[in-house]
């Protein structure tokens, strides 16, 4: 039994199943992070001060508590990884599997760099005793960046699959493999996109 339109696009919709599927998934992810951002807006409007009391000291700006230089670095890392991701797809579209390996490897490496920086950032907070229970600002910070971090981990796992075991498909069905990288890329760019909003709204405002 063969499911139609797994590789070739359906003529009247112009997309194949996997691409439509991943976009539907991303639409639901928009609502997931939308729910979290709504919670943030709701709590922040209701808060008399923001970020408020942390460690017995009243702060006026989030950037006084959080490490903006590290977060800026992480923003650059994630944007860079998005570029290498799209380049890995472009390499496959240009039939350059060797370059695909290179770019995909870079994407995975940058993903790990992001996580390491993040872990360092968290460690710094923990060492000051700034835990999620401290106040709602830190709670929002940890839950939103934590959930985003889980998405990064998920993306890295997907990318590692396509870097090694999944890459065998290049030999048997290169067109389908190229589609798969494009789709993995859509997810990865979305994770980047969420961070683009998380960074200013949590760290800078």
């Amino acid at each position: 039994m063969q499911i139609p339109f797994t590789v070739a696009p359906r003529p009247d919709t112009g997309v194949n199943n996997a691409k439509l599927g991943v976009w539907l998934f991303l639409a639901s992810e928009v609502m997931l992070f939308g729910g979290l951002f709504s919670a943030y807006i709701f709590l922040r409007i209701g808060a008399p001060e923001w970020p408020g009391m942390v460690g017995g000291h009243a702060y006026e700006r989030a950037s006084d508590i959080l490490n903006v230089p590290l977060a800026t670095l992480n923003t650059m890392v994630l944007i860079g990884s998005s570029v290498t991701m799209v380049m890995s797809w472009a390499s496959l579209a240009m039939q350059r599997f060797d370059r695909y390996r290179l770019y995909m490897g870079a994407t995975i490496a940058l993903g790990f760099v992001f996580l390491v920086v993040k872990a360092f950032e968290y460690g710094e907070k923990f060492s000051h005793g700034y835990l999620p229970a401290e106040n709602n600002f830190l709670a929002i910070y940890f839950v939103l960046t934590g959930l985003h971090g889980l998405h990064v981990i998920g993306g890295i796992l997907v990318n590692m699959y396509f870097m090694w075991p999944g890459a065998r498909m290049w030999k048997t069905d290169p067109k389908r493999f190229t589609n798969r990288i494009e789709i993995a890329g859509l997810y990865w760019h979305f994770v980047d996109l969420v961070w683009i909003f998380l960074f200013p709204t949590i760290y800078l405002l």
Binding site: G34, I41, I45, R61, M76, V83, V86, L193, P200, L204
Partner: protein
């Protein structure tokens, strides 16, 4: 982007666009951070930050995620979810103000 296959030339053109988008994103990130250090009052700071973030997100979605050349059905889906998201944000914000006349973000 339809899967009818791309010529190598086309892809090379794409790649130049990607590099340009990358540079813009990097510049915009720096701008956001610099504006952050200016310590503007809340309302203008919010507007600037959201504006820049929206432009950046738009660049990523349009070029890296190929929305600029994507099929109608996908674009519809994106608008649908963004519409619902905005409705949710808007209703929740107005809800609070309406309840007790709380000022929103100093507006």
């Amino acid at each position: 982007m339809s899967d009818t296959g791309h010529s190598i030339e086309e892809i090379k053109k794409h790649v130049r666009v990607y590099m340009f988008v990358f540079a813009s994103l990097a510049v915009l990130t720096v701008v956001t951070v610099v504006v952050g250090y200016l310590e503007l009052p809340f309302a203008p700071a919010l507007i600037v930050a959201l504006l820049i973030a929206t432009v950046k997100a738009g660049l990523v979605a349009a070029y890296f995620m190929h929305l600029v050349s994507e099929e109608q059905i996908v674009r519809w889906l994106v608008w649908l979810s963004l519409g619902l998201l905005l409705a949710m944000f808007l209703i929740l914000s107005v809800y609070y103000v309406d309840q007790g006349g709380t000022e929103i973000f100093g507006f």
